[in-house]
């Protein structure tokens, strides 16, 4: 049973399609990264599935419809900014969340310890730094032990220490086996935390799947030799090599490692009389994948 099923979702703002016929299925235990540049429709999508925005077309269903209109009681979510009552302190704000969730009275100390806010639990929310506000919001999402957690750009606007803290907390939440949906434009974040990724641009879903599948096994090679033209020519003759491009100081290509190891490639080139002066092999990163996918769209 999927946690969330999104079918043909479309949302227009005037002539602009913020979300364009989006389909997505999220299964239990997935840590799903919603990846896309700013303005790509990530927040709009999250807004619709949280009943904040009304879609123009399409539908979505939480938990196979078993909780109906009350599905959000089983979801902990932050959308865009941490939203709390500025004149209430951390405990009072969490108490409001508790009342809405309808869970039994509890001591918030443990929760506030996790997000490192216990020492400021009696201060009014308006006196908090952005990082503290964000951490309180993360604490609030965990009240009532929700089945799904949703974070929207959780490290946006934080300083490096704040980013590190928030990422650690998110990693811990993900490792606990929760289903997490996280929107981000920061690839590194998604790569480190998520098991699955959906890439969105201009409201359209460009690619989706396990991070490992999107982040394919191909190795990027940087090669050079005394005769660059002969090298390029030789590479073009090899079926295991693709995406050959001439960089200023080397030739870059992708190698299908299942078919040929880097060592075999080197030997094969040597047999063709090409002596390499440069050989750098690196895993193709999500960042390149992301740029490749979004640029082709």
């Amino acid at each position: 049973m999927p946690v969330l099923q999104i079918d043909n979702l479309t949302k227009r703002y005037g002539k602009i399609k913020a979300v364009d016929n989006l389909n997505l299925t999220i299964d239990p235990g997935n840590v799903y990264g919603l990846l896309g540049p700013n303005g790509s429709g990530k927040t709009t999508t999250l807004g619709i599935i949280l009943d904040i925005l009304r879609q123009d077309e399409g539908s979505y269903q939480w938990f196979d419809g078993q909780h109906g209109d009350h599905a959000r009681l089983h979801i902990g979510a932050i959308l865009e900014t941490p939203n709390f009552y500025p004149y209430l302190n951390a405990e009072e704000n969490l108490e409001i969340v508790r009342q809405i969730k309808g869970v039994k009275k509890q001591d918030f100390n443990e929760l506030l310890e996790i997000v490192n806010l216990a020492h400021r639990k009696k201060s009014a929310f308006r006196t908090y730094s952005l990082g503290m506000k964000q951490r309180l919001a993360i604490a609030a999402t965990m009240i009532g032990d929700p089945k799904v957690l949703i974070f929207d750009e959780p490290t946006n606007g934080l300083d490096p220490q704040g980013i590190a803290e928030v990422r650690n907390i998110l990693k811990r939440i993900a490792d606990m086996g929760n289903t997490v949906i996280m929107a981000s434009h920061i690839l590194d974040e998604v790569e480190k935390i998520c098991s699955h990724v959906a890439i969105i641009k201009n409201g359209k879903l460009l690619a989706t799947g396990p991070v490992g599948a999107i982040l394919n096994d191909d190795v990027t090679l940087e090669l050079n030799s005394g005769d660059k033209i002969a090298l390029t020519h030789a590479l073009h003759e090899m079926s295991t090599v693709s995406a050959i491009s001439d960089k200023e100081h080397w030739v870059e290509c992708l190698l299908d490692e299942d078919q040929m190891s880097v060592e075999e490639l080197n030997r094969s080139l040597f047999e063709r009389g090409i002596i390499l002066t440069r050989l750098v092999a690196r895993k193709r990163r999500l960042e390149e994948e992301f740029l490749a996918i979004t640029q082709n769209a």
């Binding site: 959000r72 900014t81 709390f84 004149y87 209430l88 409001i96 809405i100």
Partner: protein
Amino acid sequence: MIIKLLRLEYTKFKKNAVISLLVFMFLLTMPTVIFIGKEFKDVPPPLPNNEVFFTFPMVWDYQGYIGNWLVFFFLGLISVFIVVNEVGYKTFRQNIITGMTRQQYYLSKVITVVALAIAATLLYTVICLGIGMYHTEGWTMSDAFYNSWAIPRFFLMSIGYMSFGLFCGFVIRRSGVAVLLYLCYMIMLEPLIKWAVHFRVIQNNTINYYPSNCIEDLMPFPLYRFADMVPKKDLDFSFLLTYSQATIGSIVWIAIFLGVAYYSFMKRDI
């Protein structure tokens, strides 16, 4: 469910400075403003003397008229603020994200307004009885409650103003504009529209059925009743609604305000 929603609203606003101040001002002015009447030594005929302000059965009318202004101002503003404040803090959307349905959220505001109206009406009743008993010599129970239809009218009047407040909050949402519309409509805009429409186009008693007028006429300035009895040169209709007209008119407007607010909140992005 009703108690849960009411408790939630209380948790949200018990420490809100503006709302606390408005409640405090209401509690302070409700029992005191009527005593300004002590200053009016010379009252116009047909009133015998200024003691009538404080004795049964007239105390219900005078305190009611004072309550009319105070509820309009203090409680009405509270009803706008409990919506627009949350829009400003974005807790408006966070409450929904956290798990309230839109119906529950809307209901929590309506319930709060009803609770405030009940509390204000109780206060009004206690004040009228207190002042009346103190000033009326040899009062009996039937004297005290002779004019007691004023109690449900006061309640309806409170709901009337506050449902207009919720309407402004839910439909306009932006804090400054909503407050401005609430105050200006009642004080300036409605008289202006009346003047534009009725004195130019149709001159009949439909002029009395505008929302602010219906609600006001539930608790009018008592001397207007006397004034209305005097034959008028230009008007061939009464400028006050009867209580039953005002009651029906107010109920219709309340239904419209709450209905439009609900529809707007359910349909729009938040």
